[in-house]
């Protein structure tokens, strides 16, 4: 039931957003999240956005992970 792929917010009207999930447009309710704007990436569950990804920190932790393993010479 969990959709693991984050979706991009394409537009917002009131409490409803149009999202792009891998090229497919769908609606998602914003009732469970504050401060969402167009262009944000969100995790959507059963038609509701439940989490906003922080791009900068997501990239940073991915880099840290890559470095950690690269450095060890694995």
């Amino acid at each position: 039931m969990c959709l693991a792929i984050p979706s991009k917010i394409v537009s917002i009207e009131g409490n409803t957003a149009i999202i792009d999930v891998d090229g497919v447009r769908r609606q998602a309710s914003l009732m469970l999240l504050d401060d969402i704007k167009t262009g944000d990436y969100v995790i959507v569950h059963a038609g509701y956005a439940i989490h906003k990804l922080d791009e900068a920190s997501a990239l940073e932790s991915l880099e840290l992970l890559r470095e950690a393993f690269a450095q060890a010479g694995d």
Binding site: C2, M31, L32, A46, L65
Partner: protein, 359 residues
């Protein structure tokens, strides 16, 4: 696909696998508590790349599978009362109740519709003001806020014909119940990603404080899962259990407080019966009295019938990780996804269905 493809990096995966092989010495049993993890582990062939020391077992993480037989029967009774339209997620349709299923009832002409979200169910209620629409609320902490939100929306929209039958469950009390179930043997938990989005890492703190069992919150991509397995293996090898977050792009310490606020506004904890485990205190969510007008269990007469569990089905033992589907005599012989005997074969997230598809 941003924030997702990066975590299917094969080089990074290989590096993590190599590290797991170096680190892991003791034989350990790790339980993935989430049905979506079970499916991802199979789809990505993760079991086949792990050292022999590590055994992954599937837990009670498929919401449909853990729904008690009496609740499945109540869904069917609600469909039969002739005055309702049942709106449900698709996974519930084929779950065998005592002698029937929602799919069989639909074939008999009962009004049952599959929906993708409660927004669709609300829309049905709006379009059919003379019909009572009952949404079947099944799911964990990830789903419960979306259903609570629909009840709040229904009140705002002035809908008098929208109802919810709630069979929601919460994960931390189930972890605790597993620890106290005879025959259950777990060295660490791979914690569910999207339940954790809502409850945060802190949501498991009371459990962790009590049992000090290695825990790692995990995402759903291959590197997410491998990283969490490595983290658990390291915790075990160094005798340093911790409550780790291996899915930081989606999960924070505090979780989604807005979603919890909405959930707590509408629901309050109650005892709930789980298939295979029994009644777990404080593990369910019932609708608060203030929202009683939307509670299908209060608004409709639901005859209680003698429940009959699927004969020979070992779902209960599978949901607690005591056995694997390969040990169920009905697996693949009598029980298949086309003709399922128990819920673990029905749901796409069920352990038996995953074994059938990928093994």
């Amino acid at each position: 696909m941003k924030h997702s493809e990066e975590y299917r990096d094969t080089l990074l995966s290989r590096q993590i696998i190599k590290r797991i092989n170096t680190v892991s010495r003791r034989p350990i049993r790790l339980m993935e508590v989430c049905g979506t993890h079970t499916v991802s582990i199979f789809r990505n062939g993760i079991r086949s790349v792990l050292p022999e020391t590590i055994t992954l077992i599937s837990g009670p993480g498929c919401p449909v599978c853990v729904t008690d037989q009496s609740d499945i029967d109540a869904f069917i009774q609600l469909a039969r009362n002739g005055k309702t339209l049942i709106a449900t997620f698709g996974d519930l349709m084929r779950v065998p109740g005592s002698g029937s299923s929602l799919l069989m009832e639909q074939a008999e002409g009962r009004n049952i519709r599959m929906v993708y979200s409660t927004t669709d169910a609300l829309e049905l209620a709006r379009q059919h003001p003379d019909t009572n629409v009952v949404f079947l609320g099944v799911g964990f902490e990830t789903t419960a806020p979306t259903i609570a939100a629909s009840i709040i929306s229904a009140r705002q929209m002035g809908l008098k014909n929208y109802f919810v039958y709630t069979a929601h469950k919460m994960v931390p009390p189930a972890l605790e119940a597993l620890m106290n179930t005879d025959g259950v043997d777990i060295d660490g938990f791979l914690l569910p990603g999207h339940v954790s989005v809502i409850i945060g890492v802190d949501g498991y703190a009371p459990f962790f404080e009590k049992y000090h069992l290695p825990c790692a919150v995990a995402g759903f991509e291959p590197t997410d899962i491998l990283q969490a397995i490595l983290c658990l293996a390291e915790q075990i090898e160094t005798d340093a259990p911790s409550l780790a977050n291996c899915y930081p792009r989606a999960v924070s310490a505090g979780g989604n407080s807005k979603a919890r606020e909405v959930m707590n506004m509408v629901f309050e904890p109650c005892d709930a019966a789980w298939r295979g485990i029994g009644v777990i205190p404080g593990s369910g969510l019932r609708i608060r009295d203030e929202y009683g007008a939307f509670d299908a269990a209060k608004q409709f007469e639901i005859p209680i019938i003698q429940t009959v569990s699927p004969k020979g089905c070992a779902c209960g033992e599978i949901l607690t990780g005591k056995i694997t589907p390969l040990q169920c005599p009905l697996f693949k012989t009598v029980c298949t996804p086309v003709d399922p005997v128990g819920p673990c074969m029905v749901s796409s997230e069920g352990t038996c269905a995953a074994y059938y598809k990928y093994n």
